[in-house]
């Protein structure tokens, strides 16, 4: 049993030997804060991506000609709506609008704002929108990156697009996407489909793709099969495919960082092992004295495990707090840029706070077990040596 005097003595030792422990404590805290920052960023991005993709249709159908993606006839929407299981089908356009002079681009997406289902989906990604008001003039909903970029160019209220005929098209900035969707909507502009077609130069009878909703998950494979069997020249993309693509992208990036930091953690553990293996004469003497005073090997190991555990736990808690503040309050400067890569438009994501106890617990075990092992093995080797020999 561990008595309270035992804990008192550990506290006393930690306090009196604080100079000896401070370096280990600081390095441990830094490693934990970096590891937890990556986990927080990765988890936050994954959640935001997942939430944003919920607003996506279940199927996207594109027309393929000669292996190349081409415009899709809008009448396909009506045809696909007749397939059993499909609750809704509509056409959509999208295309990248390049600002040649500035080497920047926007992703224009045009949807049918008279379609109730489109509007209800839209409300999940835009804070507040009055559709009637929106449709009174040529208006658009913009991503945070677009909004900031246009502001820099003194377009705070509207922007003048150029149609393929060289005509200027003034479009009012009506609203902004919610911050939770920034990962996907940063460079996006959403506008009525007719306006988007005009700007992108797409024929009014054509669209870029057709979107379908299939509410019953069990029906989705059947719908996909029917689409494939009735049209040889289409590409069917399911929502899950897009979701997996995004998840994999950030999992892959997070994985690389985790691997790097795991290597640094292991290196640190090796350093710890070395440091305790080359334990100083005074430390050896202390262990020898305690043994001579009646402390068993078990008592010594218990003392060192608890001493190390205390340092590890405090370093871990502090590391997690620093990681949380760094990511969710300061938006992970430096690490964010490395993580998200170079963006077309300036990107200042607001990571949505998330705290996954499962992952944090795993990180704790992943950190604390090697941490204790790295120290306990060399200490055990000293504790089992002849105490009288050690003291002399």
């Amino acid at each position: 049993m561990i008595s309270s005097p035992f804990f008192n003595f550990i506290t006393l030792l930690l306090f009196r030997h604080r100079n000896k422990h401070i370096a280990i404590f600081i390095i441990s805290t830094i490693i934990v804060s970096l590891l937890s920052s990556i986990i927080f960023i990765s988890k936050s991005i994954q959640r935001d991506t997942k939430e944003t993709l919920k607003a996506q249709p279940d199927f996207i159908i594109q027309k393929i000609e000669g292996g190349r993606e081409v415009d899709t006839p809008i009448e396909w929407a009506e045809e696909f709506a007749m397939i059993e299981g499909v609750s809704h089908a509509t056409s959509r356009v999208y295309g990248r609008y390049f600002l040649k002079t500035y080497d920047k681009s926007f992703m224009i997406v045009g949807v049918d704002f008279f379609d109730e289902q489109v509007v209800s989906t839209l409300k999940k990604v835009v804070d507040e929108i009055d559709i009637k008001e929106f449709l009174k003039t040529d208006s658009m909903i913009v991503g945070d990156g677009v909004k900031k970029y246009l502001k820099e160019q003194y377009y705070e209220e509207y922007f003048n697009f150029f149609t393929p005929d060289g005509e200027q098209k003034k479009v009012t900035i009506f609203s902004k996407f919610t911050p939770q969707t920034e990962i996907i909507t940063n460079d996006m502009i959403l506008m009525p489909i007719e306006l988007a077609k005009e700007i992108l130069g797409i024929d009014q009878e054509q669209s870029t793709d057709i979107i379908l909703n299939v509410p019953n998950e069990a029906e989705r494979d059947n719908v996909a099969y029917k689409l494939d069997s009735t049209h040889f020249n289409i590409r069917v993309i399911q929502k899950d495919d897009i979701s997996k693509e995004y998840q994999n992208l950030y999992n892959y990036k997070g994985g690389i960082f985790l691997l790097l930091f795991t290597l640094s953690l292991l290196t640190f553990m090796l350093i710890l092992y070395q440091r305790y293996s080359m334990i100083g004469a005074s430390d050896k003497k202390e262990i020898g004295i305690l043994r001579a005073l009646g402390w068993s090997i078990k008592d010594i190991l218990k003392l060192k495990v608890l001493e190390t555990l205390s340092i590890g736990i405090w370093a871990f808690i502090l590391g997690i707090i620093i990681g949380y503040i760094f990511v969710f309050i300061f938006n992970a400067p430096l690490l964010k840029d490395i993580f998200l890569g170079t963006q077309n438009l300036e990107f200042h994501p607001h990571f949505t706070p998330i705290f996954d106890f499962g992952i944090i617990s795993s990180l704790f075990l992943f950190f604390i077990i090697p941490f204790i092992t790295a120290i306990i093995i060399p200490v055990w080797r000293i504790a089992i040596t002849d105490p009288y020999e050690v003291m002399r």
Binding site: M1, S3, S4, P5, F6, N8, F9, L12, R16, H17, K285, E286, G288, I289, L290, R291, A292, L293, G294, W295, S296, I297, K298, D299, D386, P387, Y388, E389, M391, R392
Partner: protein, 223 residues
């Protein structure tokens, strides 16, 4: 209280460094006796003390302490024996310099699972017995040699052991403090403690209250 029969201790056996520290030692010490082990450095006195304290295991032979054979005691039982029955006073004090006097003394009591209140009481009693109560909160690093020795005595008395082993206790003391220590030994003997002192300090030859003087030379008891 302590019976040693045919005791041998060889260091690094079967290696080129093999060294026989003790050869065929036979020694009987009764309860309450004060025994002085005399001999030059390297004669085997300290080794004998460490074997009696079960800090090492003998190569062969038997050691009986308080009716218990300790030659082959496993670590936990050997530690319990030291914690409960033996008080150690070392040549270099072997105190924790960055802890206070009372913290050093309480170290002996922690493995015995006493409550903090019991520990405090026992520490206080030991401090009084060793006349170092006034320095209880002082860090050991700030103490003089004599005070350190009194702190070491208090630590050795904290668990109220039957046996006190002193390894060259005056080696780091001046003559005045050595004489004071000898006076304190007399008090310990009067308390009924069985005391075994390993020393080569000639001051111990003059003490009147010793029961036995054993001379060790080259790992053997000189007859």
């Amino acid at each position: 209280m302590i019976k040693i029969n045919n005791l041998n201790k060889t260091f690094y056996p079967n290696t080129p460094r093999e060294f026989q520290a003790l050869q065929n030692i036979n020694l009987h010490i009764k309860e309450g006796e004060l025994t002085i082990l005399e001999g030059v450095s390297g004669s085997g006195k300290s080794t004998l003390l460490s074997l009696i304290a079960a800090l090492q295991k003998p190569t062969s032979g038997e050691i009986i302490v308080d009716n218990e054979s300790i030659a082959k005691l496993p670590d936990f039982h050997a530690s319990q024996l030291r914690a409960k029955k033996i008080g150690f006073i070392f040549q270099a004090f072997h105190l924790f310099e960055n802890l206070s006097v009372e913290e050093n003394i309480s170290l002996v009591l922690i493995p015995l699972n006493f409550s903090q209140q019991d520990i405090n009481q026992k520490v206080k009693r030991a401090l009084q017995k060793a006349n170092i109560e006034h320095k209880s909160k002082e860090r050991v690093s700030n103490l003089s040699g004599g005070e350190k020795q009194r702190c070491a005595i208090a630590r050795a008395l904290a668990n109220n052991p039957k046996i006190i082993l002193c390894d060259e206790p005056t080696a780091n003391l001046d003559k005045t403090n050595s004489l004071k220590f000898i006076e304190e030994l007399k008090e310990l003997k009067e308390m009924g403690k069985t005391i075994l002192i390993s020393t080569h300090d000639p001051l111990f030859r003059e003490i009147s209250f010793s029961d036995k003087v054993v001379e060790i030379e080259g790992g053997k008891i000189k007859i």
